[in-house]
């Protein structure tokens, strides 16, 4: 069903006409891959809670696991807009694969690329560009998510080592990761200015993983606690300067939320694909339900929500690529896209009726996958605060 839909869409030049040719080609290649290799297995990956190792390797070979990383370090050397397009297209096929790609690109490679030394880049970036290894990002703790400044994980210097202790929570990719960026307090008295960032290989003595969370959605990606007990790493494993951790985290999340916006767009689009196709085929009251205004209004609202969020996402990405401030726009994009994903997937089930509630159709999976996008990498509430703060600054007397 969806295959024919995507093919038909590829016959319409309108969707791709606005993007530069390079980006169109890249988007098409990701779309083809998602359609042929991800969409057919997404339901099974979800049922089995299974990490798509083979696909991640193939995506690595295509350059998608390290889109922004320069070629000299093994990446594709493309821009952030290209990365957002890639994540959206892949998420349209499988939302879990989308977040695996996003976390590796934005949350793991991102901060190392920006704040790492040349040595650190070679050691911690290059092996993670091929799809053979993925990384993760450990900021949240059982005691604080949104309140990132209250990190209680400690880092104490003992001779030529840092000793980390504490627990990190909700870490995406951790059961499948080979390294993590961890945030810990080096100076509790300095509060958020006392947080530093560290690079820890996985597995490593003193680092253990909690149970894999049994999640509502994105089940093919692993989520668990990371427990640090007397975890010793060389001094050279600090990322950036001492006390820079909070700053690094916030800057990383600014970009990361565009990756999540892209993922949310992919999920929303898949839900719309499913609904529009069903509207053509399902008949009631003597005609396809697509003829009924009730369904038409839903499809229009769904498409509008997606397209608006998509343009916000592209714009934020383009601002970032132009090295202009993009914090407000990124927050708007993530907020709009995640709310679009939950709205569209909710309506998709409504359009499908009973069929939307069973696993025979992908609508229920899109509904379950969509929900997390309003929570991770900055809740919708935090996004609103970020936007409001920026607005108020703009209007400062």
């Amino acid at each position: 069903m969806t295959l024919r839909l995507w093919h038909r869409q590829s016959l319409m030049t309108t969707q791709l006409a606005e993007l530069p040719e390079l980006h169109q080609m890249m988007r098409q290649t990701c779309r083809d891959y998602a359609q042929k290799e991800l969409a057919p297995i997404a339901a099974q990956l979800d049922k089995d809670h299974k990490f798509p190792a083979k696909q991640v390797k193939e995506l690595g070979a295509m350059g998608v696991m390290a889109v922004e990383v320069p070629e000299s370090l093994g990446g594709a050397g493309m821009d952030y807009l290209a990365y957002c397009l890639a994540v959206e297209e892949l998420s349209r096929g499988c939302a879990s694969t989308g977040v695996i790609v996003s976390v590796n690109n934005s949350l793991y490679l991102g901060p190392i690329l920006k704040f790492g030394t040349e040595e650190q880049k070679k050691q911690w970036i290059t092996p993670f560009t091929t799809g053979e290894r993925v990384g993760c990002f450990a900021l949240s703790e059982p005691g604080n998510g949104s309140d990132a400044g209250a990190a209680s994980t400690l880092a104490q210097q003992e001779g030529d080592e840092w000793v980390l202790s504490g627990t990190k929570a909700w870490i995406t990719n951790c059961w499948d990761a080979s390294a993590t960026v961890v945030f810990a307090t080096t100076d509790k008295s300095l509060k958020h200015k006392g947080i530093s960032a560290f690079l820890v290989p996985m597995p490593h003595p003193g680092l253990s993983l909690g149970k894999k969370e049994d999640k509502l959605g994105i089940r093919a990606s692993s989520t668990a606690n990371i427990i640090l007990e007397d975890c010793r790493i060389p001094l050279g494993n600090m990322l950036g300067e001492r006390g820079m951790g909070f700053n690094i985290a916030m800057q990383t999340l600014d970009s990361g939320r565009l990756g999540i916006a892209a993922q949310a767009l992919g999920i929303a689009q898949a839900a719309l694909d499913c609904s529009a196709d069903y509207a053509h085929k399902r008949t009631a009251f003597g005609a396809p339900i697509g003829k009924l205004q009730a369904i038409q209004f839903k499809l229009a609202d769904m498409a509008l929500a997606i397209e608006s969020a998509r343009l916000l996402t592209w714009r934020a990405a383009m601002l970032r690529d132009a090295k202009k401030p993009f914090t407000k726009e990124a927050a708007m994009a993530k907020l709009a896209a995640s709310e679009a994903a939950t709205f569209v997937s909710h309506q998709a089930i409504q359009v499908l009726g009973g069929m939307g509630y069973v696993t025979d159709m992908p609508a229920e999976r899109h509904y379950r996958d969509a929900r997390i996008t309003e929570i991770y990498e900055g809740t919708s509430e935090i996004q609103r605060l970020v936007i409001a703060n920026n607005i108020l600054k703009e209007y400062q007397q």
């Binding site: 590829s10 080609m25 891959y33 295509m62 070629e71 050397g77 493309m78 290209a82």
Partner: protein, 243 residues
């Protein structure tokens, strides 16, 4: 009709010819070309893949992608470049000429181009049956010395032949699995050259020899009839006069 070809160069080039998905125009005067994304058809993708593989095996020196058609075909040439072709040639045919472009004119264009570029090997998607040569429906292609060893899928099974170069080969489904263009290759494709050529430059007259009277879609598939027993089936077949 949108036609796409590939030239491969050992010392020479290899061709691949493709046809896109087509839909009949409502007024039955031809097929729809507006708004149809000129994407490579699967047989062309396979031909491109084979060409690039031969180059990776160092049996081929240069791969040239050729396409005949309007401006939009450049997209498909770029896709071939992103898959690994070295350069492209766009034979510009647009408007009325494009609508009436038939196999005869295309063969002349490709033949003229092949001579000009000194193509050694031409790989086409198997949809094009107008080229007379023996390497059709290839499911395996190997180069041995200065000959081409081709395994062909024929009605009776598989046939292995050796052909002298220059030669034409058409790609069948089982020849290979086309690669996805990688992001670095898509970036590199941007810098590769696509030359612009007009049919007149090749001394080919593309004016139509044929007048299309009518184009129809194939008849809609009729619903079948279900029967309960074998005797019923025999009865129905007798009724239809088929036995």
């Amino acid at each position: 009709m949108h036609l796409f070809s590939m030239f491969l160069k050992f010392q020479h080039h290899l061709y691949c010819l493709c046809l896109p998905q087509i839909r009949v125009k409502p007024d039955h005067t031809g097929v729809v070309t507006d708004g149809v994304k000129h994407s490579m058809n699967p047989f062309c993708e396979i031909a491109v893949e084979e060409a690039v593989k031969l180059k990776e095996k160092k049996l081929v020196k240069e791969v040239v992608a050729v396409s005949c058609g309007p401006q939009q075909v450049q997209e498909t040439i770029r896709t071939a470049l992103a898959m690994g072709a070295d350069r492209g040639i766009h034979v510009e045919v647009s408007g009325k000429d494009y609508e009436t472009l038939g196999p005869l004119q295309v063969s002349k264009i490709l033949a003229a181009l092949a001579k000009k570029e000194q193509a050694d090997l031409i790989i086409l998607g198997k949809q094009v049956a107008d080229f007379r040569d023996s390497g059709t429906f290839a499911s395996e292609v190997n180069i041995e010395a200065d000959k081409l060893k081709v395994v062909r899928e024929v009605d009776g099974g598989l046939e292995t032949i050796k052909i002298k170069l220059p030669a034409v080969v058409t790609a069948d489904l089982r020849l290979n699995t086309p690669r996805y263009a990688t992001l670095p290759n898509i970036m590199k494709a941007k810098k590769k050259k696509i030359a612009n050529v007009k049919p007149a430059d090749l001394g080919v007259d593309v004016s139509s020899r044929l007048e299309v009277l009518k184009v129809d879609e194939p008849p809609q598939r009729q619903a079948g009839v279900k029967v309960e027993t074998v005797n019923d089936l025999v009865g129905k077949l007798k009724e239809a006069g088929t036995i």
